[in-house]
């Protein structure tokens, strides 16, 4: 460790300066629900948002005035900024919720915001069905901001120089640079989201209006549902989640948006340019197609064996929606969580756990281990088997497509396996901690740990406003780890050790 250079005050100032930029973005975001609160005459909610936004803007102003620097960002800076930004941003964004009276402890409000920003979608809110409109809008808006990536939001709006921003972009688990410039990539991602925002909200509005909602309420539900669906978040304006709507039309639009949300932005770019063949050749598409087919088969078989539904149409409607919700890591539910335990048998929940663990595509808003890693791990395994079976002199080359054909290298396989293993270890740790409380059985503990650790949000009932605070804290950390896919958090840990024990500059 003595070989590592100890970061100096200038490094911390640089990190503080960029954190200020992130808080500036959050402050601006918080002003939107403040406006909604003023329009809806929700005065206490309005003052809560003004307090939250003001705190962010004060910190942003102070950091801009006192910490501004022309120093360049290193990769270490970028990693640390992103890891800390997700923590600090969560605490600042939790302020209006702490003031809402709907969370028993500050930790519960922090959990809710971490769940929103990481697009997990687990909630610990008391009395959601009577929540002020502006607060509910804020929860959903946070899913949009978090799904797009807080850093992306900041890059798009507040940073003009692209060269420095790449490290922040990649550190936020977005390693796919679609366009030559990071800022242009970030703005492309925003453009995709903006287009879907208009089209998706209109489609939901239409479906809700046809399903019997008044236009005003249809618009309110549509905008909130869009935020939580396209960004694979899973919050819902009502506690009953998707079961509230009683509409196949709404479910179909939501499914399309969930699938769109789980596609990587690289594939969106390919589709944008009229290159659908990329979608079909992509390793992630193929991995998801195979795993989803297998899991859907298991889920449907489970529902039939358990006698949950006696009609194939219902098995398909309930099963397919739940599978898409799990794979895309959205977490919308079509029935109360506890009924996965009390009415869905054993095989169907197990299939959901498997689908949740894999999650969606890398460089999308989806969570989970990610299809690319599972695909690479499988390719590496088959590569090794082929190497054993072929003569020693044979040269084996394995390739895969991620928009362009790539040769599978040891380093790539090792990196994918490492993150895959870290996810599995996190799932197991989360399961063990829940079991230690003695109130949950293995199915519940494993289901919830995978859902939280993969940032999915389908709950079997452990996550609850009255859950143990210790478990709530562990789940909060798991959501943070899952969203950043470990690397940035480990970099932060290393940075802290370097501060404490590193070698001083010559």
């Amino acid at each position: 460790m003595r070989m590592v250079l100890r970061p100096g005050p200038d490094d911390l100032k640089l990190i503080g300066y960029y954190l200020g930029k992130v808080l500036l973005g959050l402050g601006v975001i918080m002003l939107l629900p403040a406006v909604v609160a003023l329009i809806a005459r929700e005065w206490n909610a309005a003052t809560a948002f003004i307090i939250g936004a003001s705190l962010c803007l004060i910190m942003a102003g102070v950091s801009d005035a006192k910490l501004a620097t022309n120093r360049s960002l290193t990769w270490a800076h970028g990693m640390v900024i992103v890891a800390v930004a997700w923590l600090v941003g969560t605490i600042f964004a939790a302020v209006p919720l702490m003031l809402s009276g709907r969370f028993e402890t500050p930790l519960a409000a922090i959990f809710e915001v971490m769940s929103a920003l990481t697009t997990t979608g687990m909630s610990v809110i008391h009395d959601l069905d009577h929540q002020p409109l502006s607060e509910n809008f804020f929860r959903h808006l946070l899913q949009f901001a978090g799904g797009q990536g807080i850093i992306i939001v900041v890059l798009s709006l507040f940073i003009s120089g692209g060269a420095q921003a790449g490290t922040l972009y990649a550190a936020e688990a977005r390693d796919e640079r679609i366009l030559p410039n990071f800022i242009r990539t970030a703005r492309f991602i925003f453009a995709v989201a903006g287009t879907f925002l208009v089209v998706g909200t209109l489609a939901l509005f239409g479906a809700l209006t046809l399903t019997g909602f008044t236009p005003t309420r249809a618009f309110y539900h549509a905008i909130n549902l869009f935020f939580s669906t396209f960004d694979t978040g899973g919050f819902s304006p009502m506690q009953a989640s998707m079961a509230y709507y009683h509409s196949l039309g709404v479910e179909l639009v939501v499914m399309v948006l969930m699938i769109a949300g789980t596609l990587s932005f690289g594939l969106h770019f390919a589709l944008w340019r009229g290159e659908p063949r990329n979608l079909l050749r992509h390793l992630e598409t193929r991995t998801l197609a195979v795993t989803s087919t297998l899991f859907f088969g298991a889920l449907a078989a489970g529902l039939i064996l358990a006698g949950t539904y006696d009609s194939a149409a219902i098995v398909f409607r309930k099963g397919f929606f739940t599978l898409i919700s799990a794979v895309s890591s959205t977490g919308h539910q079509v029935n109360p969580g506890v009924t996965y335990l009390t009415d869905w048998g054993v095989l169907a929940p197990a299939a959901i756990v498997g689908a949740m663990a894999i999650g969606g595509m890398a460089s999308s808003t989806a969570g989970g281990i990610k299809a690319i890693r599972v695909g690479i791990a499988f390719k590496a395994l088959t590569h090794d088997i082929r190497r054993i079976l072929l003569p020693e002199s044979a040269i084996t080359v394995t390739t895969y497509s991620t928009g362009r054909r790539q040769v599978l290298r040891d380093a790539t396989a090792r990196s994918a396996m490492t993150v895959l293993l870290l996810f599995i270890v996190t799932f197991l740790l989360g399961t063990v901690v829940a079991l230690l409380y003695g109130s949950y059985d293995l199915t519940e503990a494993l289901f919830e740990a995978v859902s939280v650790g993969s940032n999915i949000g389908i709950s079997i009932g452990i996550v609850d406003p009255l859950m143990p605070q210790g478990l709530m804290l562990i789940y909060t950390v798991m959501m943070w780890l899952g969203r950043l896919e470990y690397v940035a958090v480990f970099a932060l840990w290393g940075y802290l050790i370097a501060i404490a024990r590193g070698r001083t500059h010559a």
């Binding site: 005050p9 911390l12 100032k13 503080g16 809806a40 929700e42 005065w43 206490n44 003052t47 809560a48 307090i51 003001s54 705190l55 803007l57 004060i58 910190m59 942003a60 102003g61 005035a65 006192k66 501004a68 605490i91 302020v95 702490m98 003031l99 009276g101 028993e104 500050p106 809110i125 008391h126 009395d127 959601l128 069905d129 009577h130 929540q131 399903t211 019997g212 909602f213 506690q239 009953a240 079961a243 509230y244 009683h246 358990a306 949950t308 009609s311 219902i314 409607r317 079509v334 029935n335 506890v338 009924t339 335990l341 009390t342 009415d343 059985d441 609850d464 406003p465 009255l466 501060i499």
Partner: protein, 228 residues
């Protein structure tokens, strides 16, 4: 680690702690209302319905079905804990209508909650009874039953509390397999009302002060940028 580094690191931590503590303090100082809105309802027909977990709970399911009196009151928790025990039984259910009446041909869908906010404490406004999630079931009200519902539960509004008799369906084929209650009779047993949330004056003052501070910080940052 030298002293200046320690100071640099401790300042943001202290700021975060102060923000959390301040927000908690301010939340605790919110004005309270003295609401007495509990609804008098008959207790559930069965005291306890254990969870039917797995596929080997046929005994529990059969025992519950035998014990349950026709038209007895059930709660949503009981229904979700063991849906098969009540499937297609005639039940009584009491709860608050929330969200909206979703108009369809021949009737309306509505979410009817029977959690403590619906039946005991009222909406979480002006009190601090933190009693968990909302809980309720979807009810199909055929035409001729829903017209008496006047107030729907919304922010700061408790909807009408209704007593419904009807058939519970674990997997309603007319709702794509949803868990529903098909209402036959509906009675409003407590009319809805809106709670006027008292203005949190201290929070308003803090908001004004911090907003002024934010404007000052932005102006200071701009002038610092001009100097650079």
């Amino acid at each position: 680690m030298n002293l200046s580094m320690l100071r640099l690191l401790s300042i943001p931590v202290l700021i975060l702690v102060a923000i959390i503590a301040g927000a908690n303090l301010l939340d605790g100082a919110a004005p309270k209302l003295d609401l007495d809105v509990a609804v008098d309802v008959t207790p559930p027909a069965l005291d306890l319905v254990p969870r039917c977990v797995g596929e080997n709970d046929q005994t529990l399911i059969q025992a519950t079905r035998i014990q349950f009196p026709r038209g007895g009151r059930v709660t949503s928790d009981q229904l979700f804990n063991c849906p098969r025990a009540f499937d297609q039984l005639y039940v009584t259910y009491v709860g608050e209508v929330v969200g909206e009446l979703i108009n369809r041909r021949g009737g309306v869908w509505a979410q009817v909650n029977d959690d403590p906010y619906a039946l005991i404490h009222g909406p979480l406004v002006g009190h601090s009874a933190h009693v968990g999630f909302n809980s309720g079931i979807a009810v199909w009200f055929p035409d001729g039953t829903h017209e008496i519902i006047d107030v729907i539960g919304r922010p700061a509004t408790r909807g009408d509390v209704v007593e419904i008799t009807g058939t519970f369906l674990r997997a309603d084929p007319r709702d794509g397999g949803g868990i529903t209650l098909r209402a036959e009779t509906v009675t409003v047993i407590a009319e809805g009302f809106t709670v006027k949330e008292p203005l949190h004056t201290a929070q308003l003052v803090v908001a004004v002060v911090l907003f002024a501070g934010a404007l000052g910080a932005i102006i200071a940052a701009q002038s610092a940028r001009r100097r650079r």
